[in-house]
Symmetry: C2
Subunit: 267 residues, 2 copies
């Protein structure tokens, strides 16, 4: 393989260089098949020889879709995938994030809004959970991790490609646009006086909602909480001080999914 | 500090050597304060000079409780804590797991049963979530990770000390004992025909339940599923193939917590 192609791929392990070309690396058969299934533009595919044998149909589909397929060593794969146990296939994809206006125009009913979520594994897990709960979009706001970070892509288990994502917006701007589209902005905040155990809080989730999730260590600061229409806590019944972000987000988004479906069935 | 003490502490980073002496390392102020607050036996405390200043009350409480306090370098702390960003305090604690019979005798209503959960971060997160949801115990069965693994202790954010844990039991034995104590064994299985969206499945959680959670990558095998009384899936409303283990466990255990509280209020 040409040194120039390799250099180009290596550059994509750095955020600034991904953003320059709006191209990223998606590792693993799940991510690659999600990319192909959802019509993301896959321009290249790196594959190890064993993975080529194991995922022959996937490699053929990528080539069919126009990807330039390159067989690489396991060592090179590890370097590009930035993991000690890469799965042997890695696609070069064009960015897939969409403008905030596009999300808002589609009359969303459930949105996850990440404010300063810094850990890529957490962000990818929240993305996967949002997808599972039927969310209409995930917005990465303020100092949140880059959704195209390799660990985030991997933790999302293909979900990065399944629902619209918005990247690099300021939180006040995202809140204003979602509120103008009729969504209530509900902050998930462990210190809130109202919890999801309150039937009224659960029923209120039957109306379109954007859940605001804060940083995994310090939550939402007072000025970010002030942007929300209200704050709701996941109730703590035991002695834990709090839930971790991904667990709290799962409980919150599934509470929304349940409330939205109860409303749909009542119609 | 004496080379012998340091050697003894270093040994505790290995599972087999922890098990020989039934002693483990709990890192971070949250874990150390949970250990002290719950009466775990803390025999030693390693602390860096900056952490000693920052957590003076905690260090004093540990000394008061009989811990031998040793000030160590940041480098040594990193080695013992096995993390790149240790929080500067690390306790040497006696094991706290209890026999299965003790859990069963306390008439538990909600138990998390981990079958072959291998990732320590996942296991610790499930432990923290079980605590938050008011579970009565967490059982680490079959080839599940050691609950005293440093990453598991850290991910549990103190919850390891908050509720009874059982370690190193065989799953059939745990299932038989819990069933004999009147708990339904409910497997969390993404392929189950019944989901938590079914009101009957949710209402059934008002009776004492042990949730069975499988390996993060391959779930529960047919022979483990056969041990359960029934299987229930978290519904998937979007295009995700599945949820990650910690997210699924959060949704399942909070569904139980809600059903148990509805029953309590109806009485």
């Amino acid at each position: 393989m040409s040194p120039a192609r390799l250099r180009a791929a290596r550059r994509l392990t750095k955020r600034a260089l991904r953003q320059r070309d709006r191209v990223f690396l998606a590792e693993g058969p799940q991510a690659v098949s999600a990319a192909l299934a959802t019509g993301a533009r896959v321009t290249g595919l790196f594959v190890t020889a064993p993975a080529q044998a194991r995922h022959a149909a996937l490699v053929a589909a990528a080539a069919e879709a126009g990807a330039d397929v390159q067989v690489v060593s396991g060592e090179l794969m590890s370097e590009l995938a930035q993991t000690v146990t890469p799965q042997g296939v890695l696609a070069v994809c064009d960015f897939i994030d969409v403008p905030l206006g596009q999300v808002v125009a589609a009359a969303p009913r459930l949105v996850a809004l990440l404010a300063n979520v810094r850990d890529p594994g957490n962000a990818g897990t929240v993305l996967r959970t949002a997808d599972a709960a039927g969310a209409d979009a995930v917005v990465f706001a303020d100092a949140s991790v880059d959704p195209y970070n390799g660990k985030c892509v991997r933790a999302s288990a293909g979900s990065l490609f399944h629902l619209p994502i918005v990247a690099g917006v300021r939180l006040p701007e995202a809140v204003a646009a979602l509120r103008a589209a009729g969504l209530r902005i509900v902050a998930a905040d462990g210190r809130a006086g109202v919890t999801l155990a309150d039937p009224r809080a659960r029923q209120a989730l039957a109306s379109p909602t954007a859940w605001l999730f804060g940083n995994e260590a310090w939550g939402l600061s007072a000025d970010l909480l002030a942007l929300a229409d209200e704050s709701v806590a996941v109730p703590i019944y035991g002695r834990a001080e709090s839930l971790n972000l991904a667990a709290a987000a799962a409980v919150c988004m599934y509470a929304s999914a349940a409330a939205l479906r109860v409303r749909d069935q009542a119609r």
